[in-house]
C-alpha cells in the first residue's frame, strides 16, 4: 500500500540503491589484494533515475515534480570502474573505496530519514484523538 505513495517508493528505491552500492564497494575492498580483480561500481542514483525515465517520462507541469521510480531501477547492472591498475592488474584503490562507502552510507541514511519523516506525516494524519 505504501508503495502507491511515490515518496515512499522513491525513498525506498534510493535506500536499496545505496545498499547495493555498499555491497559492491564491500566486494571491492574484500578483493583489494586479489590479482586481476577489476573494481565494480553503480551509477549515481540521480543518474540511474535519469537513465530510467529517459524517453518514458510522464508529462508534468514542472520538471521538479516527483514522478517516482519503478523498482526496475535496482536492476541496473554494475560497471567496471575505469582507473589505474596495479602491476598485478587490480584496479581497487582502498582510499577511494572508503570514500565512496561513506557516500553510500550518507545516501542510505538520508533516504531512511525521508522515509521516516513521510511515515511520521502518515502517522500524524491517521492518529485518532
Amino acid at each position: 500500500m505504501l508503495k502507491d505513495l511515490t515518496i515512499f517508493q522513491l525513498a525506498g528505491n534510493a535506500a536499496t540503491h545505496a545498499g547495493r552500492r555498499q555491497a559492491l564497494l564491500t566486494q571491492n575492498v574484500a578483493n583489494a589484494d586479489t590479482p586481476g580483480y577489476r573494481a565494480l561500481d553503480l551509477p549515481d542514483f540521480a543518474e540511474a533515475v535519469s537513465l530510467e525515465t529517459r524517453g518514458a517520462a510522464m508529462q508534468a507541469t514542472r520538471p521538479t515534480h516527483l514522478q517516482g521510480t519503478s523498482s526496475q531501477i535496482n536492476r541496473i547492472e554494475p560497471f567496471e570502474r575505469p582507473g589505474e591498475a596495479d602491476p598485478n592488474g587490480n584496479t581497487v584503490a582502498l582510499d577511494r573505496e572508503l570514500m565512496f562507502a561513506v557516500d553510500a552510507k550518507r545516501t542510505h541514511d538520508r533516504s531512511l530519514a525521508v522515509y521516516r519523516s513521510a511515515l511520521d506525516i502518515l502517522r500524524t494524519a491517521i492518529r485518532v484523538r
Binding site: Q22, T26, V29, L94, D109
Partner: protein, 130 residues
Amino acid sequence: MNEFSRALQVSSSAMHAQATRLRHVSENISNADTPGFRRKSVSFEAEVDPVSNLTLLRVGDVRQDQSDLTTVFDPQHPLADDNGQYKGSNVSLLVEIVDAREARRSYEANLKMFDQVRQMSSSLMSLLRK
C-alpha cells in the same frame, strides 16, 4: 538474501583470508633462523560462489619460495659443512614486515566496511521501531 547480508559474507571471507595471510607471515618470521626453512606465501583468488553468486575472496595454494637459501658461516654449528657453512632460511624480515603491514591494513579496511554495513542494516531495522 538481501544485499547487506551478502556484503557481510564477502567481508568476512576477506577477513578470513587476510588472517590466514597474517598467520603465514608470522610462521615465516618465527622460522627466520631455522636452517633450511623456505618462506611460504599465500595467493588470493576471487571466487564466484555458485549458490549465492557472490564474489568471495578465497585463499589459494600455499607456495614455498624457491629462491636460494642464505649461506651462514658458523663452523661451530652442527649442520656446518667442510667449509664451516650451513644453509639458513630464505626469509627476509623486511619483506615479511611489509607483508604483515599490508595484511593488517586490508583487514582494517574490511572491518570498517563490515561495521558500516552493520550500521546501515541496523538503521534500516530501526525504521520498524516506534
